[in-house]
Symmetry: C2
Subunit: 188 residues, 2 copies
């Protein structure tokens, strides 16, 4: 890691996930506050967030109460300019196809179960959970996710995230991912 | 349309779909044969098919029995070289997200139905049909689809297809699509 100039794109989960925030602070608010205090002493690290992710962050954290919030550059990716290799699109389409098939199997399984049961609420709850796992877990499934990937690509930045789907697809795009622990190490 | 030099990437459905093949011939075999007879008289039109699509075609047509089959250039797209705008990836991820949600609603609907019914076979059949419509209709859902798009993009070719999903996404990539009727017009 080049100690001279480092760019980092930050995902919300760095401050919000129970697993990762304990490293920076006990609550999301404290985690972000502590992070920015450390960051303000570093001249060689620049942090970025796409506006969509910043928006997400404000659902968990009162960012207006954090004076150093300005240290996070809110930069949208240049989505009209940045290109991605078509191979990534191939792989994504293939991945989605497999997952769509899995989703149908989940649906079929719960129709079978429902024929032998009357526990509607329980069935629907489990169906939703299994379907989510089959179709969403470990995949890019929102424009916020794409924002993080494309911004990290555009800036040749590190991507700080604990999201497995993002880590998987960042790897294909040549983006280095760092964990909360690693992020803490570089700003200390 | 430039009459001097035309490149066309051909989809299987041009020869196989009942609606479109009637324009070229009564059976897929005749349709392809008639097409190639007309094509052989044209010097300004070059036709291409990705190998994956050609493979698909051989399931419907005995291509070895067609002497002029060589007129169709089997060219794979340069998938490691061609880039696509990241905006397309955004739009695809958003589209899939909406469809994944729709797929879950379909699953839930059939769990409700199954709780009040014992017609398993009927339910599963309808579930599959509705799920397929929700998740697959009008979308790119196979590497063959991506092959057609990326090859047409790479060659700056027309894409001859009747697939609504392909037409929709080709439009975003600046690829001109032509129907079987239009294809016939230009080779006559």
């Amino acid at each position: 890691m080049d100690k001279e100039r480092i760019k980092v794109v930050l995902d919300t989960n760095i401050f919000v996930n129970p697993d990762s925030r304990i490293i920076l602070g006990e609550t999301p608010q404290q985690a972000l506050n502590n992070f920015l205090e450390l960051l303000s002493k570093k001249n060689n690290i620049k942090c970025f967030m796409p506006p969509s992710i910043y928006e997400e962050l404000t659902k968990f954290i009162d960012t207006q109460a954090i004076s150093k919030i300005i240290l996070i550059n809110r930069k949208p990716p240049s989505k009209y300019e940045i290109n991605i290799p078509s191979l990534l699109f191939y792989e994504f389409v293939e991945e989605m196809r497999n997952r769509i098939n899995k989703g149908l199997r989940v649906g079929e399984k719960y129709v079978h179960k429902a024929l032998l049961s009357d526990k509607e609420e329980e069935l629907i709850k489990s169906l939703r959970e299994e379907y989510r796992l089959a179709l969403r877990e470990g995949i890019i499934d929102s424009k916020e996710d794409v924002d993080l990937l494309i911004l990290a690509k555009e800036l040749s930045a590190y991507l700080a995230t604990s999201d497995n789907g993002l880590i998987f697809w960042a790897d294909k795009l040549g983006i280095s991912c760092i964990s909360t622990q690693e992020l803490k190490t570089i700003i200390e």
